[in-house]
């Protein structure tokens, strides 16, 4: 079911940061123009308590975006009705500017694995995935942005991932959350060309961009890059990001940091670097007119 696109209503593309409890007060007090924050709704699915109160206070003057990790859109089973209900309650309470999930699965047969596991890139999986994206969009009454995963294993793919995502956009009216670090990591691990991937993404569908750090696998070294969200964004990923913005124009961009959380100022410095790239593009484009 196509859902009206609400993400394009956001005026100028601004850079935001993933919100962690350690930074609640800093974010609340930050005066940075355009700063927005993103949370995993799973971390706010509690009955009450200070975390929800912080988010309530922060959303009063900073846009909040929801980025789910537990919906298992790429799984076999129908979406968990209880999880959808909690999601919907949070969407109604906090009115996020964007909602997103992953091309991945994370639960099966009653066990939640709490990781973004690879969905097979097959025709049958595509049909299933589209039905799940539809179901989530219908339940929330919102367009959902779907994020490209970090991939580690070469599998028997019938459909290239970027085509899988483009077809999902076409069938469901969903948008894309393009994680540039994930493209870089997957391209390295599976041996494809990251720029060719970016060239193939339907530009108009990109509602948000993610930037994060990756690290070499502890056991396998440079053979395998792991999307740890535990390090600063690398130079290669910044270069890929500039290339993307050059092609598609400015889009809301998030700096994600989930482990080895840096000081707020260091995180904001990365955020400001992304903002500078967005602003530079806007000024250059403006000068052409």
């Amino acid at each position: 079911m196509p859902v009206p696109d609400t993400s394009s209503a956001v005026p100028a593309a601004a850079a935001g940061i993933g919100l962690k409890p350690d930074h609640f007060r800093s974010v609340l007090e930050a005066k940075t123009d355009g700063l927005w924050v993103e949370v995993h709704p799973e971390n706010y699915m509690e009955e009450g308590g200070p975390r929800l109160n912080w988010l309530e206070a922060i959303r009063k003057d900073k846009p909040v975006s929801f980025h789910g990790v537990g919906m298992s859109l790429g799984g076999f089973e129908p979406l968990d009705p209880d999880h959808l209900k909690r999601w919907k309650a949070l969407v109604e309470r906090f009115e996020p500017i964007r909602v997103s999930e992953h091309l991945a699965w994370s639960a099966h047969a009653g066990t939640y694995f709490n990781d973004l596991l690879p969905t097979p890139m097959t025709q049958a999986a595509l049909d299933h995935f589209c039905a799940h994206v539809d179901a989530m969009q219908s339940a929330l009454g919102r367009q959902v942005l779907v994020e490209n995963p970090s991939r580690y294993l070469p599998m028997h793919d019938d459909i290239p991932e970027v085509d899988f995502l483009a077809e999902t956009v076409r069938r469901t009216g969903c948008g894309l959350l393009l994680d540039v670090n994930n493209v870089f990591v997957s391209a390295h691990n599976l041996g494809f060309d990251a720029r060719a991937y970016l060239d193939a993404v339907p530009a108009e569908a990109i509602g948000e961009i993610h930037l994060a750090g990756h690290e070499e696998d502890q056991a396998l070294g440079g053979e395998l890059l792991v999307d740890t969200h535990g390090a600063p964004v690398t130079g290669d990923v910044w270069a890929l990001y500039r290339y993307l913005i050059e092609r598609v124009g400015p889009r809301p961009t998030l700096i994600e940091h989930d482990t080895n959380l840096p000081a707020f100022e260091a995180l904001m410095a990365e955020r400001d670097a992304a903002q500078a790239i967005l602003d530079a593009h806007r000024i250059r484009e403006g000068a052409h007119v």
């Binding site: 509690e46 009955e47 200070p50 076999f76 968990d80 639960a107 099966h108 709490n114 028997h156 056991a219």
Partner: protein, 254 residues
């Protein structure tokens, strides 16, 4: 789409054995790389438990905690999509965990860590205040049945570990302590965003326990007095009001 793919992956993630995944993987590198997923899944569970049981982790150290948590994940993998309250049976797991057998007090520390976590994330409710009570007809007071605020946890421990736990929780130095098994009641609650905790006398524990079970103030006072201690239930009722322990009841008496 075949469910077998997901069944095989689930089994491999649970066991760490990727043999059955061969079918889906394009080359030999893939099997070795599968460990990334398995490690992510296991360490996410271990880290969620470490975050939920910080004093247990401080007391035994990371290297003791991790295999104990890993075994918990083997036996009780997460079932809901939020990890915030994962680990509800961890104290009992510690009590049955062989390498912790010498540390009889450790499950009791875990019970306090767990109560803190539940108190922190519990629901909100309107608090019964002294002002509301003062406005009531005094005749109606004995039959008033205020429930407990949803954040209140009254824990009965079989080792008196409160001082040790509270000192670690606050990163406060703690002098030498000798421990012997003995019952201890501890109260945890959340009031105006802050978590409080304190040792409860048996009479006060009985008083709150009765209110938590839906009893009236009169019945709760009698439950407390039946323990034969002179613990001034009226004074404790005042404390309970000022600390936000009591929920405003549906005031059918007004």
């Amino acid at each position: 789409m075949s469910e077998t793919f997901y069944q095989d992956w689930s089994a491999a993630l649970r066991s760490g054995d990727a043999k059955r995944l061969q079918l889906y993987l394009a080359d030999d590198s893939a099997r070795r790389r599968f460990a990334v997923y398995r490690n992510n899944v296991v360490s996410a569970a271990i880290e969620a438990l470490r975050a939920g049981y910080p004093v247990v982790n401080q007391l035994v150290g990371d290297s003791f905690f991790s295999p104990m948590a890993k075994l918990y994940w083997d036996e009780h993998p997460p079932q809901t999509r939020s990890m915030t309250l994962y680990g509800s049976c961890f104290a009992d797991h510690i009590a049955a965990y062989g390498p912790a057998a010498e540390l009889g007090y450790l499950p009791e520390i875990a019970r306090l860590d767990r109560a803190w976590l539940e108190t922190h994330h519990a629901g909100e409710a309107e608090v019964l205040t002294g002002a509301t009570v003062s406005a009531l007809d005094p005749q109606a007071l004995p039959s008033l049945a205020p429930g407990l605020h949803p954040s209140v946890r009254a824990v009965t421990l079989s080792w008196p570990v409160y001082d040790i736990w509270a000192a670690h929780r606050a990163a406060r130095p703690l002098g030498e302590t000798a421990l012997e098994p003995a019952a201890q009641h501890v109260l945890l609650w959340r009031h105006q965003g802050q978590i409080g905790h304190a040792v409860l006398s048996p009479a006060h524990h009985a008083f709150l326990g009765a209110l938590g079970a839906g009893s009236s103030l009169e019945q709760a006072v009698s439950a407390a007095s039946s323990l034969g201690e002179d613990d001034d239930p009226a004074g404790f009722f005042g404390h309970a009001l000022s600390h936000g322990l009591l929920a405003a009841p549906a005031l059918q008496h007004t």
